[in-house]
Amino acid sequence: MNAIINYFSEVLNGGISLLKGMGITGKHFVRSPKEIITQQYPENKDTLVFGERFRAQLFMEHNDENQIRCDACQTCETVCPNGSIEVVWHREADPETGKKKKVLDKYVYHLSMCTFCNLCVLACPTEAIKMNQEFETAVYDRSELTKVLNKPGSKFSQDFVDKSLEK
């Protein structure tokens, strides 16, 4: 007799547990218009909010006079674990002091090799490079992933460095 009672109580309890589960999904089905978490991506592009620290890709800050804060010290190049940064530079005599100084030619950034570890940004003594929030990095050709970060004709400016370090 016990076996029969067990048999039917098992069926009943099993059924109840199933119904409870359906209750959970049912509750969310009824409530779903309020709860929808889908983001309509390309349409909501303008309203997308990122954390200010979100690391998408490296960029170099230029001011209005096309000046940069990078003095080609190559710290970022040595600190990068993946070799995604190449600093191309030459020596030039400073017109005021006459000392020979490094001058940046090209700041080459291989996005394809970057793991967004942020070590270069931390290491930079002049805060010349930063991470921006441009996360759409898909391109049609692999060569487009190799970027030159400094704009043509940009010049290193000590004032610019001082200004930004003050903040």
């Binding site: 069926v11 589960g21 959970i24 999904t25 049912g26 969310h28 089905f29 978490i37 889908t38």
Partner: protein, 359 residues
């Protein structure tokens, strides 16, 4: 109640007056075939979008929302895509069986659709062994699944097909023998139209009280198993077998399997409605004459599809809630639980009918 046989009779007479009878029969066949194929396609499209939308809402998503308003034309786009796709198959398949399998699975639901009463006098093939016909024909579908699994020459497909065979053969038992037979005892007929008409005083689900409710629950469980849907979807078991029996199919052949799953779901629901929920009969509450009269104004087919929709929603609700059973658990459920209970239920029902305890 509008008798649709008047309309069809009028068409038949009009055609007969124009041409010899053999031509009339041919034209009528073609007409009915076209109508049912259209119904089949429309059902497939509607049910697929419905499933995806409902799944979305269960999961706080939007579901398809790109093609057309609210994504309503998503399935149309998908169908076009599937039609245009290349038919890829491995060269190790058993060519003939591989190609013939999709048609098996599509023919079974098409044939069953012929005997279902959609409205008063709206049945393509009104035979007196309707229920028996349904049970017999629905077994053809599994042949298609077995053929697909076997001919694909893929171990995953084979496992899926064998599971499907085991499940469907065992679940037909409690579905046919007990759940449906219980109502046949009440209605006293195997003809689906007669079963519907016998429910004019009230649906069998309510009139047959406890045994009918048990029969209905068992029918819904077995029906879910017959259509290979969650929690009995182990034939295609996404996480175990990839796609199971249709893993090697692509393009329109895959679409056939896909469609037949949804149309099977419609058929299971339609049968549940016909047998337990009064088919195309309107919803009546005894004593509320005004309410009942106003209900009568809604045409039968609308009632039929409305009720079917409710059952389909129930099946979808199952799918988006439950985990999947294992093969031996499915067979245990059938042989140790459903079959004994439904046999017992049959005896109970016979007793109820004998004592005349039906409302």
């Amino acid at each position: 109640m509008y008798d649709f046989s008047k309309m069809t009779g009028a068409i038949h007479e009009w055609l007969s007056s124009l041409m010899p009878s053999i031509l009339v029969t041919t034209i009528e066949w073609v007409l009915i075939g076209v109508v049912f194929l259209a119904l089949f396609a429309i059902l497939g499209l509607v049910l697929v979008i419905l499933e995806r939308k409902i799944a979305g809402f269960f999961q706080f998503r939007l579901g398809p929302n790109r093609v057309g308003p609210y994504g309503m034309f998503q399935t149309v786009a998908d169908t076009v895509k599937l039609l245009l796709k290349e038919l890829v198959s491995t060269n190790k398949v058993d060519k003939f069986l591989y190609n013939v399998a999709p048609f098996f699975v599509i023919i079974a639901p098409l044939m069953i659709m012929a005997v279902i009463p959609y409205g008063f006098g709206l049945t393509a093939y009104d035979i007196n062994v309707g229920l028996l016909f349904v049970m017999a024909v629905s077994s053809i579908g599994v042949v298609g699944i077995l053929l697909a699994g076997w001919s694909s020459n893929n171990k995953y497909s084979l496992i899926g097909a064998m599971r499907s065979g085991a499940v469907i053969i065992s679940y037909e038992l409690s579905m046919g023998l007990s759940a449906l037979l219980a109502i046949v005892l009440l209605a006293g007929s195997l003809n689906l139209n007669d079963i519907v008409m016998s429910q004019q005083a009230g649906w069998w689900l309510f009139r047959g009280h406890i045994p009918a409710i048990i029969a209905f629950v068992i029918y819904i469980i077995t029906g879910t198993a017959e259509t290979n849907r969650v929690p009995f979807d182990l034939t295609e078991a996404e996480s175990e077998l990839g796609a199971g029996y249709h893993a090697e199919y692509s393009g329109i052949k895959f679409a056939f399997f896909f469609l037949s799953e949804f149309v099977n779901m419609f058929i299971i629901s339609a049968l549940a409605v016909t047998i337990f929920l009064g088919g195309w009969l309107p919803f009546h509450i005894p004593g509320w004459e005004g309410f009942n009269n106003s209900m009568n104004y809604i045409p039968g087919p609308v009632w039929f599809f409305l009720k079917t929709g409710v059952i389909i929603f129930l099946l979808m609700w199952f799918r988006w809630t439950f985990p999947r059973l294992r093969i031996d658990q499915i067979l245990t459920l059938e042989w140790k639980y459903l079959l004994p209970i439904s046999l017992l239920n049959l005896v109970l029902m016979a007793f109820v009918v004998m004592m005349g305890w039906v409302f």
